[in-house]
Amino acid sequence: MAITFEQVNFSYGQGSLSQPILKDISTTIPSGKITAIIGQTGSGKSTLVQHINGLLKPTNGKVIINDFELTSQTKEKQLVALRAQVGMVFQFPESQLFANTVLEDVMYGSLNFGQDHLAAKEAAQAALTMVGLPSQHWDKSPFALSGGQMRRVAIAGTLALNPPIIVLDEPAAGLDPLGQAELVKLMLNLKKQDKTVVLISHQMDQVMTVADWTLVMHQGQVIAAETPTTLFNRPLSWFKKVHLDLPTAGQFAQQLMAQGWQFKERPLTLEQLAQAINQEVTIHE
């Protein structure tokens, strides 16, 4: 399910007090892929993704989510249909856990959407399995779990509704390496099931590992829409201008290049970097 933004503008406030947050955005988030939205704090990333499930409506222009058209005129009633299509996981979603047990928490959404108890339970169990939370934890209080486990329960709550589009805002923030690796696995799994995954991330290493497509936001505009490899091969001056980092391997390679090393292409992953260094050393031996 692709998501298309057509000349989307969004402002808070009206008239002379209005503050433009999104400026004339026309771009497409491809269906069945993982798209990373990156950009510094305040660039408009969160505002952009809140247009995908109609939490915000464009001031001008439209967002087309599959066959749903979101404009300034869209009524609240109509949004119900959209919300079933788009699962949103906000930052630190574990702060919204509330039920007595993990299973009840994950079932809550499905019951709210009118599913019967059995169907809701099955959906919850499937979602918990997908996020990799062992069944021994399902009857525990969510608050007895570790931070990383709580995060997964919260994500399962969204997945249980089986939405074709899943938006994750900084899902790995604060997780340890193991938790982050689990999350990468989960996103790749969702892609395998043909879901459209939208990821807001500050971690360029993670973007390089999982994303098929990237959108770069800067001062309310999308200034790049391309593959991570194309993006991270842009000149260093461009990254300075938009206050973004290269992946760690790219940063290290850049420092070597400042020492006089030459690489055909900028290495962007640990493996690429090690290979490039080893190759250079061998050539010169």
């Binding site: 630190f92 007895a144 938790g179 500050h202 020492q259 050393v281």
Partner: protein, 273 residues
């Protein structure tokens, strides 16, 4: 010199079937910067809560600067320890940055004529002196954590514990806070004991000593280079090596010991001739 923290035979369990600490021993010298590392749920934050007396041990003894932790001493001990938590948004009470730093001083009944100098000095140490009159919620995450650190510093603690204080920050914010910690160590030297609880190994590499905790056990304890030489053990308990060490493992030829990124760049330099 007295130890900053002494932990003897510490036992603690959340519920009856799951002992977390089962006879833990740990000494931390005054003036040391110790990184306490472990995955989420390894027990490192619980240990900090036990040291602060926010949780009570089932058995064993904790002493802070020579004073044994007990119901009678807990208030005094907390006065010696400053704590910065993970979520920058949960630790603000003041309407402005200065008010926020003032809050702890007011609790200590510091006279108001002495207060503004103390506030200014603490904000200067963390590089936030130009933000005195700003509202805390308008700051970035990295700035908020530095204000939280200033609030702690104003109380002149002997020990500061940072519990995953950079985990929620973006890369810029993380760098800002880490640079501030380095500055603190230079400024206060042996007067300040720093304990950073983290799972970021690049952050741990800044410390004098790395203590690795897993399932309530100390599994490694040494200088960063000693600990990072044991990558396989770290990987087994869900931790990652610092980036430079991961790269070293893939190089041929490679250095024999752990190096940080700057050292590795210097080591590689003569190979590119």
């Amino acid at each position: 010199m007295e130890k900053a923290i002494t932990i003897k035979n510490l036992k603690y369990q959340y519920d009856q079937n799951q002992p977390l600490f089962d006879g833990l021993n740990l000494n931390i010298e005054q003036g040391q910067w110790v990184a306490l590392v472990g995955h989420n749920g390894s027990g490192k934050s619980t240990l900090a809560k036990l040291i602060l007396g926010l949780l009570v041990a089932d058995e064993g003894e904790i002493a802070v600067l020579g004073q044994t932790l007990s119901e009678d001493s807990v208030d005094e001990i907390r006065g010696q320890i400053g704590m910065v938590f993970q979520n920058p948004d949960n630790q603000f009470v003041g309407a402005t940055v200065a008010d926020d730093v003032a809050f702890g001083l007011e609790n200590l009944e510091v006279p108001s004529e002495a207060m503004s100098a103390k506030i200014q000095a603490a904000l200067e140490v963390v590089g936030m002196e130009e933000f005195t009159d700003r509202e805390p919620h308008h700051l970035s995450g990295g700035q908020k954590q530095r204000v939280a650190l200033a609030s702690v510093l104003a109380l002149e603690p002997k020990i500061i514990i940072l519990d995953e204080a950079t985990a929620m920050l973006d890369p810029d914010g993380r760098q800002m806070v880490q640079a501030t910690l380095k500055k603190l160590k230079q400024l206060y030297g042996s007067e300040l004991t720093l304990i950073t609880i983290t799972h970021d190994m690049d952050e741990a590499s800044l410390a004098d000593r790395v203590v690795v905790v897993n399932d309530g056990q100390l599994v490694m304890d040494g200088q960063p280079n000693q600990v990072f030489a044991q990558g396989a053990t770290l990987a087994k308990i869900g931790l990652e090596l610092p980036f430079s060490m991961q790269l070293i493992q893939r190089l041929d030829p490679r250095p024999q010991n752990y190096m940080n990124q700057q050292e590795l760049l210097a080591w590689l330099s003569p190979l590119n001739k």
